[in-house]
């Protein structure tokens, strides 16, 4: 495993990229504006692409360069473009009826990070030089998953729910890039294209919602219609 002989420079590059992506998740959690979510997601995807390229360079996995380029293109450009298009067409600029205020969800998010840290500390089995980066990657991965779930559960707008899913997926991807960088290329490509399909499906679903329910907020959908 390449993490067992990692130098301090590599460790600091990996940890700062991971921490920055975690911070961007909090930007998404705290902001009211849908457009900001999409921008934060795009920047996060670029950071993860840079991370993949770094792992490829330091760890000697040439196929990860392909993954990095594909991540930057698909997650960093195509998905945000599609999402911005949906936001523009829907004419919904901000999340108004949140279940939780953004400040309380930030505090909840902080608790989620602590929880993730405790779990990561238990899971970790590496010795000291690699332990920091393993625990950090696990913490960031688990807390991005928890934050994605949090966004899915406290937000009503359809767009924020897509973004919650995408953040969740970004977290898993980030963790896998650091922890198990030798995943087969084909699987990673399949995951990337799956995401594209998820967003396309959600776009269709949102249009259906607008036409048939007259709203994009999932709050209106809790009534049974016979």
């Amino acid at each position: 495993m390449f993490l067992s002989h990692i130098t301090s420079l590599q460790a600091s590059i990996f940890s700062s990229l991971a921490i920055l992506s975690l911070l961007l998740t909090f930007v998404m959690l705290g902001s009211h504006w849908l457009r900001n979510y999409v921008y934060a997601f795009a920047v996060q995807s670029w950071l993860i692409a840079i991370l993949s390229a770094c792992v490829a360079y330091f760890g000697g996995f040439p196929e990860l360069y392909v993954i990095a380029v594909l991540t930057a293109l698909l997650r960093g450009l195509v998905l945000p473009y599609l999402l911005i298009r949906i936001v523009d067409r829907l004419n919904v600029k901000r999340e108004i009826h949140t279940v939780l205020q953004s400040s309380s969800s930030m505090v909840l998010g902080a608790l989620a990070v602590i929880f993730a840290y405790v779990i990561a500390n238990h899971i970790n089995q590496e010795m000291l030089p690699a332990a920091h980066i393993v625990v950090l990657a696990l913490t960031v991965m688990l807390s991005m998953k928890l934050l994605g779930f949090l966004m899915l559960s406290v937000r009503d707008e359809a767009i924020s729910q897509i973004l919650g899913l995408l953040v969740l997926e970004n977290g898993v991807f980030l963790g896998s890039q650091i922890l198990v960088p030798g995943m087969p290329l084909l699987i990673e490509i399949v995951i990337l294209f799956d995401l594209l399909i998820v967003v396309a499906c959600f776009g269709m679903l949102v249009r259906y919602l607008v036409v048939h329910a007259g709203t994009t907020s999932s709050r209106q959908l809790n009534r049974l219609v016979g």
Binding site: S8, S12, S15, S16, I19, L22, L23, F26, G30, Q101, S102, S103, S104, M106, V107, G109, A110, V113, I114, Y117, L128, H132, V135, L136, T139
Partner: protein
């Protein structure tokens, strides 16, 4: 030639006392310049203080002894804190072992507590509003302050600001570690909140927006001058902690020669110039938050502090 330690300590306090109005004047001037007006001279706060000290004191009938004692307590508290922190010299001087970081924070809060009492004392409506708003802000800001101080103590494994300064000077890897960067950001949020700056406090002086000024509306003459001076000194002290303990630990006098002290004052002013420009940028680009959205900004600060503590535990081995 090195100055005796007592003289160095007196210089620290005098520096805070005499330079605080200059910082206030500079921020006001810079804000006006950004808005394309000329603005007052940067020495205007000195002239204001001079004028206020030569006016007579008008005391409301309903005021009790708290009205008289609060400005003195606030002013004295601000004179005590510079003893405990590295303002010009980067090593502990006489009496600096009176308190650690938390002690300094407590003395700072004591001054603001005295002014809250004074705002309630005279029974004026605006004083009451100002006091209740300040108390609410204090409730929201205090957890972040404590967490930031705990975080920096965990990083340095000591509660003394001097040790933190030496640690950051000594190792660039600690300076650029995520824990430290989060702490700097969290303290910057606190700095904006505690020095009456924009996302929270309004820059226009209408009673309806006032928070800190509303508490001292009843004061006049020399007592008002003391309160104004105390709030400028509080701003200066928080800037000093932000620069010398958190953000820019360079440029302090190590030996204590007169030349070194002059250099330390110059570098302090340069650092404050930088931080004040950052604050001016925030003030120009941000609009004031609604009262019920204050907690969003402060929750961000709280979150950054929590993240700092978590990541300081991750990298704790270094």
């Amino acid at each position: 030639m090195t100055l005796p330690d007592i003289a160095l300590q007196v210089l620290q306090v005098l520096g805070v006392l005499l330079l605080a109005p200059l910082l206030q004047g500079f921020i006001q001037k810079a804000e006006e310049r950004v808005q394309r007006s000329r603005g007052p001279s940067i020495f205007q706060p000195y002239r204001d203080l001079w004028k206020l000290f030569h006016k007579e004191c008008v005391v409301p009938d309903s005021a009790s002894w708290i009205y008289w004692i609060a400005p003195v307590i606030a002013f004295t508290a601000m004179l005590i804190v510079p003893l405990l922190i590295p303002v010009l010299t980067d090593r502990p001087l006489p009496l600096s072992n009176m308190g650690d970081i938390l002690g300094g924070g407590m003395v700072l809060t004591l001054g603001s507590f005295a002014i809250i009492l004074a705002g309630l004392d005279s029974g004026n409506v605006y004083g009451g509003i100002g006091s209740s708003r300040t108390a609410m802000l204090g409730i929201l800001a205090e957890p972040t302050l404590i967490l930031v101080l705990v975080g920096i103590s965990l990083l340095a494994k000591a509660m003394l600001p001097f040790v933190v300064n030496h640690l950051l000077l000594g190792s660039l890897s600690v300076y650029w570690s995520p824990a430290h960067i989060f702490l700097v950001l969290a303290f910057f949020v606190l700095l904006l909140v505690e020095t009456d700056r924009l996302p929270i406090h309004s820059s226009t002086h209408f009673e309806i927006y006032m928070i800190d000024e509303a508490r001292i509306l009843e004061y006049s003459g020399p007592l008002l001058a003391l309160l104004r001076w105390a709030s400028m000194m509080k701003q200066f002290i928080l800037y000093t902690i932000f620069c010398n303990v958190f953000f820019l630990p360079w440029g302090l006098s190590q030996l204590g020669t007169p030349f070194g002290q002059a250099g330390a004052i110059t570098s302090l002013l340069l650092k404050f110039l930088l931080v004040a420009l950052l604050v001016v940028i925030v003030e120009t680009t941000q609009s004031r938050l609604r009262f019920y959205r204050y907690q969003e900004l402060l929750a961000t600060g709280f979150l950054l502090a929590v993240l700092a503590i978590v990541s300081s535990q991750l990298i704790g081995g270094r």
